[in-house]
């Protein structure tokens, strides 16, 4: 019998050291063109679980659960855990889990609305945080 995801996370937290990711995900919501770019910060315990393997469920269970009404049984808590990921795979997993599909899957406009970047590229000066946009002149995605 597979333990609930919450129990697996508790077990992983007890035995794994947190891992601070060297990546951040910048993204813009095309439905809110005036909004600043958002920055997704990976959780260190989540990263540790992803890198170790046998804790997190398949990403498609989260995507299917998005259409399950509240109060109805969800698939992701008891799904068979996936194996160890690389850090890059873990970030892709997070993108699909925590960012709307309208941004990472459905958008087909000309703007670059999502970038995975090294943490050093996130400005430390937040004086103009609400004016942040993804630089359209730089098309390369950090790897």
């Amino acid at each position: 019998m597979i333990a609930h995801l919450w129990d697996r996370l508790a077990d992983a937290k007890a035995r794994l050291d947190p891992v601070q990711s060297k990546y951040r995900v910048l993204f813009e919501n095309p439905a809110e063109p005036e909004a600043p770019a958002a920055v997704l910060v990976p959780d260190p315990n989540f990263m540790a679980a992803a890198l170790a393997g046998n804790v997190l469920p398949p990403i498609d269970t989260y995507i299917r659960d998005q259409s399950v009404p509240d109060g109805q049984p969800k698939e992701h808590p008891y799904a068979e855990p996936v194996g160890a990921m690389t850090e890059e795979e873990a970030i892709e997993y997070l993108v699909m889990k925590d960012i709307s599909p309208s941004i990472w899957r459905d958008y087909n406009g000309n703007r670059t609305i999502m970038k995975i970047v090294p943490v050093e590229l996130i400005p430390s000066d937040r004086s103009f945080r609400n004016a942040w946009k993804i630089n359209q002149a730089e098309q390369e995605i950090a790897a």
């Binding site: 508790a10 601070q20 997704l40 910060v41 959780d43 659960d65 509240d70 997070l94």
Partner: protein
């Protein structure tokens, strides 16, 4: 992983049903620094999305079975601020906002605990 299947927990004097312990436990919690931004302490959090000055979204790894469960927050920056509060508590994420006395959004470190029933 081993599982204890018991109906009650006791310290030798007082006994409570295990349901009190399970239902009363925070299902997720996080210490988040908006200025960095970085997560320093957490459980059952997959990421925090920095949405803008003083605004963020805490995303859960194991989701809840519904919305609008209690999600108390606190920040220790200054007593002379409006403070921090959670809102729009969802099954997979809760939004957080920090504001000063002028009702302006400001970047602060905060703590959030999410209660509720797991999915």
């Amino acid at each position: 992983m081993s599982t204890l299947n018991v109906a009650n927990v006791t310290d030798g004097t007082t006994s409570v049903p295990t349901g009190y312990v399970v239902n009363g436990s925070a299902k997720a919690w996080v210490r988040y620094y908006q200025l960095t931004p970085a997560i320093s302490k957490s459980f059952n959090v997959s990421s925090v999305t920095d949405v803008g000055t003083g605004q963020s979204t805490v995303n859960f790894t194991a989701g809840l079975d519904g919305i609008e469960y209690p999600a108390p927050t606190n920040q220790s920056f200054s007593a002379s601020e409006l403070g921090v509060w959670s809102w729009n508590a969802g099954a997979s994420a809760t939004q957080v906002r920090t504001r000063n006395l002028s009702s302006a959004d400001v970047d602060r470190a905060y703590n959030l605990a999410q209660f509720g029933d797991l999915a």
